[in-house]
């Protein structure tokens, strides 16, 4: 199978993730969008690794996974903190940094 298809799939997944982040107000859903984008990137890295016959991309994918795990921890903690403070997880609600 043509490895290029994986790259296209990665692009589609990334776009779905980005759309989720931009369009959904629910923080959990937006968070899932972020995860989707990370995994799309992983897929692209692995696909490129295959195309070029080198292992660099796969190693990079492992790093992304580690970072993503850490990000999930921090991100969920923030969401919980926000929920405790305001009883909502809407992304549009906290706007204190408005200039």
């Amino acid at each position: 199978m043509n490895p290029m298809n994986y790259v296209i799939l990665a692009a589609i997944l990334f776009s779905i993730g980005a759309a989720a982040v931009l369009l959904r107000r629910n923080a959990i859903v937006a968070f899932m969008g972020v995860e989707l984008m990370l995994n799309a990137a992983n897929l692209a890295l692995v696909a490129f690794s295959r195309i070029h016959g080198e292992l660099d991309g796969q190693i990079m994918a492992f790093f992304v996974m580690v970072v993503a795990a850490a990000e999930v921890v921090v991100g969920l903690a923030i969401i919980i903190a926000v929920f405790r403070a305001r009883q909502t997880i809407s992304l549009d609600e906290p706007a204190e940094l408005k200039g």
Binding site: A18, L22, R25, A30, L91, D92, A95, E96, K98, G99
Partner: protein, 626 residues
């Protein structure tokens, strides 16, 4: 003792430092320490005098270098003290009269809660004045020059809780500053010309310099002298300086500091030697001031201001003599010494009168005080006879010599200067007699609440000593030309010159004018009734009462235009310099306000921005083929 002359400066300086540092803790004994420091300085001076008298005349000067002040390449300045006949004369005058006035002040300032601070300033003044006269270079002289300026400022404004007194102190300081610039310019000229600032080098090299340079330096020195000695056209501060306590007026504004200008001119003899034009200007300034001061003195009703005008006039005599060149130098200093005694004595007498009259100064409310204050009357009377130039009192020996010398010379000069000095003597007799009769004779015109009484012994004893000096000092010093011979190593030997009129005629004319002035004053102010309010008077009297409108002239010619200049500069600074900076800052500020709008606080809009940015970057990379 001559090599230890630095002690004379160190003692009062140390005392001033102690009094100022200890503060209230020294209140109980501070004034007596001040007296002791001044007296100690006098003893040092006396020791130096005795040592000098034991040496032959030409070896009497001793220049001691204490340490190097500025060791800088071309400009090498040592702190050195020059103890020669001229400076020792001044040291003795300053410390002797100064110590007497210190003693007097102990009683005069008794009820002032800041008496200790007063003595600290007095000691500071004595130290600075001694530094001024003992310095062996212009730069060190300048240090003392500024020091006495500061002390004078502090003492004029001693009662600075009264705004007009504080203003008087500021006025004295500012006018003196104009003179100081003259001294700085003179030092600049001398340094570029001679490469040194000490009297010895300049005395040696002055002959080589061009007349133009010497004239410029001489005129700059004259400006300095005018500021310090209240000579025309910088005379306006002296009258207001009477705001200070009376002992200050006696010490600083009669006997010592105001004569520093005369000292400067005499000390700069080598410069004036080569600049006859500058010398004539000095004499003209002296002649103008002596007339101006006498005319102002005739119209003033304030006893201290009348005495201040008289001081101005008498210093005018000294300047006139100093402007005559070597023929007059010794007499200028002679008159300075006798004047120091009789004028300080009269100021102390005026202080005693004020003490008795609840600090009133209006002579129209005095009168008939001779019965109430016999000692003050007699001592003041001796000073009065001395300043009139009645033989054999001090003033006769010194002032007559100046009038005689003024008649020496060729062309128009002896006639103009001589006649001015001669008429000045008559005017002096009139205004001093007016002051004397208005205060001590005639009918009592006292305000209801005053009860005149004689002052305590601490005040009368210094007055008596000064009165004895006013009476006999001139005779003692003039006998056998003692004083002129003593000063000869400094002022140079002068062959006797014949005045354009015979000496006997001059003396006779002087005495006739003096008698006319005194008798005139007696008829107008001694025998006749003196109105308690100043009567409306002719334009001439009003002019003299207002010091010849000098303040108005200064205000119109210098102060107002100066204020306009500064206001314009302030406006330009605010509008252009500050304006440019502020405009720029405002621009950046509004740019910041505009860009602040981008910060929406919406997380999703930030994410969108990032995404759009990312797309643009990728598009650039892909399309641009980078």
């Amino acid at each position: 003792m001559q090599s230890l002359i630095w002690l004379a400066i160190a003692l009062p300086l140390a005392s001033a430092a102690v009094l100022l540092c200890l503060g209230r803790r020294a209140d109980a004994w501070g004034h007596w320490m001040g007296v002791a420091a001044s007296g100690g300085a006098f003893l040092v001076g006396l020791g130096a005098l005795i040592e000098m008298l034991g040496k032959p005349a030409e070896e009497r000067a001793l220049d001691t270098t204490l340490y190097t002040f500025i060791p800088g390449g071309d400009l090498h300045v040592d702190v050195g003290l020059l103890a020669d006949p001229l400076s020792i004369t001044f040291v003795l005058l300053i410390t002797f009269v100064g110590t007497l006035i210190h003693v007097y002040s102990v009683a005069y300032m008794e009820h002032d809660k800041d008496r200790r601070r007063f003595f600290a300033y007095l000691n500071l003044f004595v130290a600075a004045m001694l530094l001024l006269v003992l310095a062996d270079s212009y730069l060190l002289l300048f240090v003392g020059w500024e020091g006495v300026g500061v002390a004078s400022y502090l003492l004029i404004g001693f009662w600075n809780y009264k705004p007009e007194y504080a203003t008087a102190a500021n006025k004295a300081f500012v006018v003196n500053r104009i003179g100081d610039i003259g001294l700085i310019i003179a030092m600049g000229i001398m340094f570029t010309t001679f490469g040194a600032l000490d009297f010895a080098t300049i005395g040696e090299l002055a002959g080589n310099a061009s007349t133009a340079t010497l004239t410029a330096a001489g005129l700059a020195l004259l400006l300095a002298a005018c500021g310090k000695s209240a000579q025309f056209p910088l005379q306006s501060w002296l009258g207001d300086a009477m705001a200070g306590p009376t002992p200050v007026s006696a010490l600083i504004h009669a006997a010592t500091m105001v004569t520093a200008g005369v000292y400067l001119i005499v000390r700069s003899a080598p410069i004036f030697e080569g600049a006859p034009n500058a010398q004539v200007v000095v004499a003209i300034v002296g002649a103008i001031t002596l007339t101006l001061g006498a005319l102002i003195g005739m119209a003033k009703d304030d006893i201290k201001k009348a005495l201040a005008a008289s001081t101005m006039s008498q210093i005018g005599y000294m300047m006139l003599a100093a402007g005559l060149g070597p023929v007059g130098y010794a007499f200028a200093i002679f008159h300075l010494i006798t004047h120091g005694f009789f004028k300080a004595g009269m100021f102390l007498g005026a202080g005693s009168v004020m003490h008795a009259m609840n600090d009133q100064v209006d002579m129209r409310r005095f009168g008939a005080l001779k019965g109430a204050m016999v000692v003050t009357w007699v001592t003041f009377g001796l000073g009065w006879l001395a300043i009139l130039g009645v033989p054999p009192f001090s003033g006769y020996w010194s002032k007559d010599k100046i009038i005689e010398s003024a008649f020496v010379g060729e062309g128009w000069q002896p006639w103009v200067f001589g006649l001015t000095a001669l008429i000045g003597a008559g005017l002096t007799a009139f205004y001093m007699s007016r002051l004397f009769f208005m205060t001590f004779h005639g009918k009592a015109r006292w305000t209801d609440e005053v009860h005149p009484h004689e002052s305590p012994a601490l005040m009368t004893v210094p007055m008596i000593i000064l009165a004895v000096g006013s009476a006999f000092l001139g005779l003692i010093l003039a006998t056998g030309d003692r004083f002129t011979t003593w000063l000869e190593p400094v002022t140079g030997h002068v062959e006797h010159h014949e005045p354009v009129l015979p000496v006997a005629v001059i003396v006779a004319l002087t005495l006739i004018l003096v008698a006319l002035g005194a008798v005139g004053a007696w008829f107008k102010y001694g025998r006749a009734e003196v109105p308690q309010e100043a009567p409306s008077a002719s334009l001439a009297t009003i002019t003299a009462r207002n010091d010849f409108f000098q303040d108005s002239v200064n205000r119109a010619v210098f102060q107002r235009p100066g204020q306009h200049v500064t206001r314009t500069l302030v406006y330009a600074d605010a509008a252009i310099v500050d304006g440019a900076v502020n405009k720029q800052a405002r621009g950046w500020s509004s740019l910041g306000s505009a860009s602040r709008k981008l910060q929406t606080g919406q997380v999703r809009s930030y994410a969108a921005t990032m995404l759009v940015g990312l797309v643009i970057v990728i598009a650039v990379i892909v399309v641009g083929g980078l």
